[in-house]
Symmetry: D2
C-alpha cells in the first residue's frame, strides 16, 4: 500500500451559493493529490506526458459525507492499494480542519501511449519506485 | 420512469491539455441536465431553494467511455427510474455528435430543509408533477 | 461593425457563496459568445485550430455593474468595432433577464500560427466573411 | 505600499487544449493571492464575511504576457499601492518558474455591508493593520 497526504484550501471560486464547495470541484482535489503523490516519489505527471504517456480517468465514484467549506484547509489522503498494471486505482479520503472525514472517493485511470492512443504499461522507473511499498 | 434530454456544447475552458473535456467538468453537465429536467416539468431549482429546500449531492459515480471534445454538442439524457422520497436518484447518458455513448453516470441527492438543515420530503407539487410518469 | 448576441444561463457551479456568479467565470461567457459569433458567420474556432491558427487572449478588462444570479439567462452581446488584423478586438455587453446592463468587457486576442508560434493574419475566408460589415 | 507573495501551482483542470492555463482561471489566482495577503496580516476573508462585510469585485483588467503552463508553480505578487477606503485596489504580478513576468493585472473591489447591501468602510482593525505600511 502506498499513501500520501496533501493539503488543499477551498477557494472562494470553488464554493457555490449553498455555501459549500461545489460537488464538481472535488475531482480537481483528487487530481492535485494524485500529482503530489507522484511528486513525492520523484515523478511528475508533466514528465510522464512529456515521455509520451498520459493517464485519462476511466471511472470515478464518491460520497459526500459533510460539506467542505470556504477557506478550510482540506487534508486529502490518497491511497494506492495495489501495484498498477495498465490501469491504476486510487482511493481518496478527505478530512476537514476538525479532522472529520467529509468525503471518500475512488478513481480508476489507464496509462495510454500518446503515439498510438492505446493502453500501455507505465514506465519501468515508475514501477520501480512503487515496488518497495507493495511487498 | 421520467426522462429528459438536454444539449450542452463543450466550452474551450472546459477542455484540458489532453484535448478532452476535463474529467471534473462532467458534474456540471449533470447539474444543467437535472435543472432542465425540472424546468420541463414547470419547476425550477431556484424556486425550490427560494421555498427553503436545497438538494445537495450525496453520491456520484461515472464511467468515461470516450472523450468529449471541444465544441461538440453533447446530448445529456437524464433518467429518473423511480419516484423520489427524501432522496432522489438520477442516471445520465451522454452522447457525442456521432450519437456514440461516451459517458454514463449516476447521482443521489437529498432534499434538505434549509431552515433546520435536515432531510425532508420534496414539496407536494413536485411529487404531483412526477406521479403521472411512475404509474 | 459586427454584432452578435448569445444567451447563456448561469449554472449552479458558476455561483459562489455570495450568491452571485463568481467574478472569474465571466471570461467563459465571453469565450462562448465569441465562438457563437464566429459560428453565425459560418466559421468555427475548432476549424480554425484544425487549420493551424489559434487565438490566445492578450488583454482583458471588465466592469461588474450588477451581479449575475443563478439560473438567470444572460444575454451576451459581442461587438467587433473594426476589422481584425493580426489582432482582433471584441467588446461585450451582458444583460440580465430584466434587460439591465450588468457587465461590460473588452478582450484583445491575437492570431497565432501554431506551426511557428508567431502572430499571423487570419485566413482570407475569415476576412472575406467580415468585410461586408465594415464598409 | 503593502506587498505579499503567494505561490500557486497550475492544476491540470486549469489548462485548456492550447496547453496553457485557460485565460479565465487567472482571476482565481488573484483571489487566492488576495486572501493570503489578508491572512499574512492576521485577517481572514471568511472572518470578514462572518462579521457582515463582503468584498465583491467592481473592475478587473489584465495582460497575458506569456502562458502559464501545467504544473508550473506561479509566483503571484499582490501589491496594494494605497490605503483602502470604501474601495480597495490591488495590483498583481505573476512570474513563472524561470522568474519571467508572465501576467499583470489589477482589480478594484468594494466593501459591502451585507445587512443593507450598501458600500461601507472596512472594519477599524483592518485599517489599523494596514496603516503601518502606508506612512
Amino acid at each position: 500500500m502506498f499513501e500520501h497526504t496533501t493539503k488543499i484550501r477551498v477557494r472562494y471560486g470553488e464554493t457555490d451559493q449553498m455555501g459549500y464547495m461545489y460537488y464538481g470541484n472535488y475531482a480537481e482535489f483528487y487530481e492535485v493529490a494524485r500529482v503530489e503523490m507522484l511528486r513525492s516519489l520523484g515523478l511528475t505527471y508533466s514528465g510522464m506526458e512529456a515521455s509520451g504517456i498520459m493517464m485519462p480517468v476511466l471511472e470515478m465514484k464518491c460520497k459526500y459525507l459533510k460539506p467542505a467549506l470556504y477557506d478550510e484547509e482540506i487534508t486529502v489522503k490518497v491511497i494506492m492499494d495495489k501495484m498498477p498494471g495498465v490501469k491504476i486505482h486510487f482511493r481518496y479520503e478527505l478530512f476537514n480542519e476538525k479532522e472529520e472525514l467529509i468525503h471518500i472517493a475512488e478513481t480508476l485511470l489507464v496509462f495510454v501511449n500518446m503515439a498510438n492512443n492505446r493502453p500501455c504499461l507505465p514506465a519501468p522507473d515508475f514501477l520501480d519506485k512503487l515496488k518497495p511499498f507493495f511487498k
